[in-house]
């Protein structure tokens, strides 16, 4: 669906995107996560042709974006819906008119029976049928974003781009919006690309995620793998391990992913090897439908080799923390 290869982009002398390559499949929910200023929004804007790039290639649905302009670009954008952090609704239009506006851009009358049906169906999907005549100023942030989602879907796009779409919302509203996006993805088969700095967003709905830092993709994969077994860049982004681990002996971090999440590894480790150790840190997180966890145990130096051997044998992922 979206194929990005060696994409580079400069603003003046500053390199915003450095050799970015990624591949987004049809029908998936793909996350692009990183700190503010990492270049993720620029990348998203490139996908919609709102921003140009200096070198590399960016193909959406088989078309190179830099090769289209004018009418072709307008027709291309029709197939890509976008929602924004600040919703970007027209203040002076009511909810209905906001959702119908893209239809008008494409020649439809806003009150024609087809337009009406389309807009009302979408307002039903986002749960705002009672707010048809409200102005954006009368809505809450979550409701505004729902209107923006309906507006982004009104032209039947193949891809929905979300630019920090939940960053201005409270946690509960964020959750509601995310489950709406999940529904749109599964029911309508729309590919969703989400740019965010919120880990919760990625954890809750993304099937794959790219971690972008200083314009470079430093990690890519399933969120459960990226966040449960973070590399150094991600650790830094997440704020790292709390500084409460014992300074003596050996700290070993175990990762419980997928099939091992439910195994009683710890009690077996103690019983089978006949050793004592302390559990010094742990967390459990939800990723879409999966539960993933990580635990740090503190063992004696002399037990290290036996523990390592046992964990390998049990196919538990682990590493020694320094």
């Amino acid at each position: 669906m979206i194929e990005i290869k060696n994409l580079c982009k400069k603003f003046g002398e500053t390199e915003i995107l450095k050799n970015v390559s990624l591949h987004i499949d049809d029908g998936e929910i793909y996350g692009i996560i990183g700190q503010s200023g990492a270049g993720k929004s620029t990348l998203l804007r490139c996908i919609d042709g709102l921003e140009t790039y200096d070198s590399g290639s960016l193909e959406v649905m088989g078309k190179e974006i830099s090769g289209i302009s004018g009418k072709g670009l307008r027709a291309f954008r029709k197939q890509i819906g976008v929602i924004f952090q600040n919703f970007n609704l027209l203040k002076r239009n009511n909810v209905y008119d906001n959702v119908a506006l893209p239809l008008q851009f494409w020649g439809a009358k806003k009150n024609s029976p087809e337009s009406k049906k389309k807009v009302m169906n979408l307002l039903k999907l986002v749960g705002l049928t009672d707010k048809v005549h409200s102005k954006p100023s009368e809505l809450s942030g979550g409701q505004e974003q729902r209107v923006a989602i309906a507006r982004a879907l009104v032209l039947d796009p193949k891809v929905l781009l979300c630019d920090e779409a939940t960053s201005a919302l409270d946690p509960q509203t964020t959750k509601d919006i995310l489950s709406l996006l999940l529904r749109i993805n599964s029911e309508m088969g729309i590919t969703i690309v989400i740019v965010t700095h919120q880990m919760e967003v990625v954890k809750q709905i993304c099937s794959r995620v790219a971690f972008i830092k200083d314009g470079r993709i430093v990690a890519e994969g399933k969120p459960e793998h990226l966040f449960v077994m973070p590399n150094d860049d991600i650790k830094q982004f997440l704020g790292g391990m709390p500084d409460v681990l014992p300074k003596t002996d050996v700290n070993i971090q175990l990762f419980f992913t997928d099939e091992h999440a439910a195994d009683p590894v710890i009690t077996r480790l103690a019983r089978n090897l006949g050793i004592d150790f302390s559990i010094v840190w742990g967390k459990i997180e939800n990723f879409r439908s999966d539960v993933m966890g990580s635990l740090v145990i503190n063992i004696k130096e002399k037990d290290k080799n036996r523990v390592a051997e046992y964990l390998n044998q049990q196919k538990v992922l682990w590493e020694v923390l320094k």
Binding site: L50, R77, V82, N88, K91, P102
Partner: protein, 211 residues
């Protein structure tokens, strides 16, 4: 006295009304061009913006009374004569156009750039963005700008009296100033005060209503 003042009020309304209408319609064109070619506009163009920006500033720097005299040949060309109420509409309009252009430019540019970007993302054409987004979203600020223009023109029209334009300013100068009729001065001033208050009040109401 009342008859004279009523007639003068009619002349002022006529001059201000027509010149507001004309200057808003004509001034909107440079305003739109300035908005489009500005650094953050749809099609940034330093040269076009620079030239237009300069011209607007030049015309705005003329004191009205000087401008009125300088463009007398132009006034004669357009209105057929250089003196009189109708003729005064020409310099009033000319002086208000750059003012309107500036006020409308700032009204249009106050539209949230995010909304413009959203419109682009749905494949809107430039014309659609200008007419359906810029103009629609900026209505409150445009109305505030028109209110400002009307009040400005009321002030200018009083100066027009100096070139025989008629109107309240003319009455104030002829009767009040030249014939030492203090009552004329007071009444014309009161009428102007009430008029300006009324324009501002209506402007504010329209602004609130259009939000």
């Amino acid at each position: 006295m009342m008859g004279t003042i009523l007639q003068a009020l009619g002349e002022t309304l006529y001059m201000v009304g027509i010149s507001t209408l004309l200057s808003v319609v004509i001034g909107f064109i440079p305003a739109v061009i300035l908005t489009i070619t500005a650094k953050d506009g749809l099609h940034p163009n330093k040269a076009v913006y620079g030239v237009l920006d300069f011209l607007v500033n030049v015309f705005r720097s003329f004191p009205f009374i000087i401008l009125m005299i300088i463009i007398i040949p132009f006034t004669r060309l357009v209105a057929g004569r250089a003196i009189g109420t109708t003729a005064a509409i020409v310099p009033l309009t000319v002086s208000a156009i750059p003012f309107v252009a500036r006020v409308m430019e700032s009204a249009l540019r106050s539209v949230d750039p995010g909304v413009i970007e959203a419109a682009k993302s749905f494949g809107a054409s430039d014309a659609q963005i200008i007419f359906r987004v810029y103009m629609k979203e900026s209505v409150p600020s445009v109305l505030a700008g028109i209110t400002l223009t009307v009040i400005n023109l009321v002030g200018y029209s009083a100066m027009g009296g100096a070139l025989g334009a008629g109107g309240l300013g003319d009455v104030a100068i002829r009767y009040g100033y030249q014939e030492y009729r203090i009552d004329y001065l007071i009444v014309t001033s009161l009428v102007l005060i009430v008029f300006v208050q009324l324009v501002q009040y209506i402007g504010n109401k329209l602004y609130d209503f259009s939000l």
